[in-house]
Amino acid sequence: MTSGPAALKPVDIVIVGLGWAGGIVAKELASTRLKIVAFERGVPRATAPDFLAPRIHDELRYNNRHELIQNLRKETLTFRNDPSQRALPMRQLGSFLPGEGVGGAGTHWSGLHWRWLEWEHKMYSGTVARYGRKIIPQDMNLQDWPVDYHELEPYYERFERLCGTSGKAGNLNGRKVDGGNVFEGPRRSEYPNPPLTPSYNMMLFEKAARDLGYHPFPVPASNASRAYINPDGVAFGPCHYCGFCTGYGCEVNAKASPHFTVIPLASKNPNFEVRARSTVLRVNLDSTGKRATGVTYVDARGRELVQPADVVILSAYVFGNVHLMLHSGIGKPYDFQNNTGVVGRNYAYQCGGGVAALFDERTYFNPFMGSGALGAWIDDFNGDHHDFAESGYIGGGGASTGSNGGAPIGHHPSPPGTPRWGSAWKKAVVDTYQRFTGVGSQGSVMSYRQCYLDLDPTYRDSFGRPLLRMTFDWQENEYRLMEKQTAVCAQIARAMGAQQVFARRGERRLHYSIAPYQTTHNTGGAVFGEDPGTSALNAHLQSWDVSNVFVLGASAFPQNAGRNPTGPVGALSYRLADTLKNNYLKHPGPLVHV
């Protein structure tokens, strides 16, 4: 063997991780004629043959055995609730399901496609302006995005058009539109497709919420409600409401995904190359530590190779981005003891809650008819649409119901108190299947000094690198939010006419657990901001310390909101592509000086 890994021919740009973020940038940069290589740790996938029916409608394979999800045997993370504990590895998938393979989580997402609210981009200044600084708990690292909704609006629009999002505008150029989300920021245009056909539980929800004085609307869904051709000329089939959506690939390309949109378009560019089954181990820096020289990766055969590049764009999942930064020495690692350093700081998640609701015997919800993002929602208690001082917490949550699939390994509800097995269980499951639904909450989580990511001192991945270590728990602010949201959901469920309503969380304030699935909406750890003392990246997602490294994804969000993160991830991806094309590539160097 030679002494070091072989160095390949230099390229202009390396992209690490090929989901929505990497795919959009790769496609948008084709016009630069620069040589681009995208690394993806997983396998290449295409609708045909990988996602074709009937094989894709395999609940065990995709929902239980997690075919499209990160394989923990190769990489995982360690977890503890607080810094006094010893972190232990996440040995089985549970709380969240990061994607793996070309298309990333875009292949298996549900398709809830939001623009974040104006306040959700300005949580610190928006909160202080209304309530003063005192309302912010001492351990909360509340901070603003360095860009606002209005600057992102054109990028939000582009991403919706790319995805064929189905929905109804609630704020067209400042004019509030009944039936849409009247709390959203002003939009220049309507959604590209009309809303999906509502399920019965959605109809009950919409009427109940309206009767209660709330403002229900259809969830913006990147499940095409009709045949659609996007501005790039990519054809979408109309959604079949087949009920195999979240966790699955879509056989008719109704669920927007990078694997059939931006990635094939990027691949038409002869200067673009995808290296799948290739894991980037680290970003290499020059002797000053101020400039990246490329990446070292392991290919499918296990060869360690060096790919020199002028620009490195990290667009892996939240954990991959932060792990690579920490492992490569890009930016100062966060130090919990002193609340200094930035990489790994402001890790956040989302808090659930809500209720299950049992209706009378002649109710037929047909839970097997649906799609990943088929739902009705209210934002009346989300964002800053309630009084934080009165509620006792900062942030909010959406309340919703939907019909997202009824495959029975995962969906065989029974009322709480039912035995878990035996004839009584069986009878209850049969009796309940058609008349049970949920009203759920998706709640924001703020960022805290004691919730962060760093490198684990003990455990290593299959490549010999230290695992990322997560330290996270619910805080008082989030417990209060969950309690309030559960009460809101219960109120709506009762107004829907439910016979019985059951809180999904008990009265006890349990610690966060890594074991049960909750949501794959992890955020932070490499946040962008205006102050290098509290952010790893500047407003252009550029590392403050290594100016030819850009870090793209929900890892940039300073805290989490009560809605799905994919919309702003897509918008930021378009914006970064513009920044690179119009600015950075013409004049490489730091884009922000402080």
Partner: protein, 247 residues
Amino acid sequence: MSDSDQHKPRRLARRSLLKMAAAGAAAGSLPFAGAQPMEGMTTPAKQAGPGHCDSAPAVYTFLNSQEVAFLEAAVATLIPADELGPGALELGAVVFIDRQLGGDYGRGDRMYLQGPFAEGTAEQGYQLRMTPAELVQAGIADVQAHTSGKYQRRFEELSAQERAAVLSGLETHQVSLPTVPGELFFGVLLELTQQGFFCDPIYGGNRGKASWKLLGFPGIGAMYADRIAPFSNQLYVSEPVSIEDLL
């Protein structure tokens, strides 16, 4: 949705056997459960592993005969045959578990199993060094040792009430096992039994799609774009379709 014609001759041959096996099983208290024609019953044999077919006793490729005997008794206790229809045993849940434990899942193919190992908190999740197959096999041996001590009989030799008492003891931490945490073993056993009961028949369980008929789940083949509105709060009844039916 109907079965494709090319499969019919082969399926007919299995039907008479299945009719006997499932006699009395499909009638239930639900209006639609009894309405499903027996002719729709199908079996997983086409996709089965080596040597397996429905006209012969199940052939197990991974578990030994004592483990199978335990599991047959356990799954029949967890999801019994009753007036609603067949239970997990009749639907092939043990065949399902055998194949799962002998495959990638049983080997922990997607798990992180590197040391060091420590107990951890409940919130930190699974921390044993055992794969699912190792856990189930060790758990079975543990329970057999427990019943041999307490009842002087193997688990499968116990009365229905005694079996239920043993499983309930595991579930509620009343019975502790020497190797495997009892409630963890119980949880995995229950999860696998439910998967074998509800899975697509391609995996060896849910024979004849019987659990889908029982629930009113129409299977995996339907397109509902033109049905979701007309069937709003209307019972939708359809002969369930499995993966195999559409291949």
